[in-house]
Symmetry: C2
């Protein structure tokens, strides 16, 4: 029996992504977002949503670039911290011990310690409501070699990112491998 | 050491959502998407991306509505099947045994058997590349009572949706609970 629970942002699962940008004087800035996802295959694009009062909002407009830094489960405390604290009050890199590295392909910094990085060039913005959507074209993906499978591509089990649950405000781990997409469903084909 | 692996849609984690729409003569249609995410808190909005040749693409433009049906792990084979097969070749409801129910708040059907449903009214579309982005305002969320926690809101552990890994084309389970957001990061605060 279905119960109506109202108009809420309860889409599951949600990501935990740390967005890297440059502020004034090329000062590296990071903040955590959970509103986002891939939005196009060709060109490869990803979307994130930000509120206007965020430093990252202004930074992306000015530099037309950002990085998405995907943490591993071992970095969930740092990722959560970066979403709580304002860079105006405290230096987020000092507090977390994370290291900003200049991207060679877009005008934004990425986080050295995180296992998977998407380097993005701003393609579109769209005002929706209290959030503005930023669509970035993925110019390159950088990954730690230790998270790559035999085919040279990242494995979710090795990146092991936190999974966000917006309805309870909580993080979970990635669980067991289930099976291949475009494959396990064929069991139902007549 | 970071390795450059090229411009790919390797954002982790990605969702597994089944989109419900009406076709001609109000015939219920479902298809599976992995490109999407929440994109605004107020109004609560979610985005999904579709290619133009999909029946769902035309259906959303015509009805200005869709549902997002979030499966549980026990329904991953059905969700995968719905992403493989075209409704032109086979009736997806007959093949999967899933049941379409008419939403009372938007002009789209939802799946009775799935634990969590977002009922959406089309708010914006944006052409990006081979995918078009559809932004829906979430008008209501419906959930099976058994997936709700003590506060009446869905728990990721009980919805237990498949997690998609685009870089390997595979599904994973949700793992263990880690901790509260806007909370565990405070351990780093001076």
């Amino acid at each position: 029996m279905k119960k109506s629970i109202g108009a809420h942002t309860f889409a599951l699962p949600a990501p935990v992504w740390v967005v890297g940008t440059y502020g004034e004087d090329k000062k590296p800035n990071i903040m955590t977002v959970a509103w986002g996802g891939i939005c196009c295959s060709v060109p490869p694009c990803v979307t994130i949503s930000l509120q206007k009062h965020r430093a990252t909002y202004k930074n992306i407009f000015e530099n037309k670039a950002f990085t998405i830094n995907i943490p591993s489960q071992q970095q969930v405390i740092e990722a959560d911290y970066v979403g709580i604290i304002s860079g105006k009050d405290e230096d987020k890199f000092t507090a977390t011990g994370l290291t900003p590295i200049s991207s060679q392909v877009v005008n934004a910094p990425y986080i050295q310690e995180f296992p998977l990085i998407l380097e993005c060039r701003l393609l579109h913005t769209l005002e929706i409501g209290i959030h503005t959507q930023f669509i970035g074209e993925i110019i390159d993906v950088k990954a730690e070699e230790k998270v790559l499978g035999e085919n040279g591509l990242p494995l979710l089990s090795k990146v092991n990112p936190p999974i966000f649950s917006p309805s309870e405000g909580a993080y979970y781990e990635v669980g067991d491998y289930v099976g291949k997409s475009y494959s396990i469903g064929l069991a139902l084909k007549k």
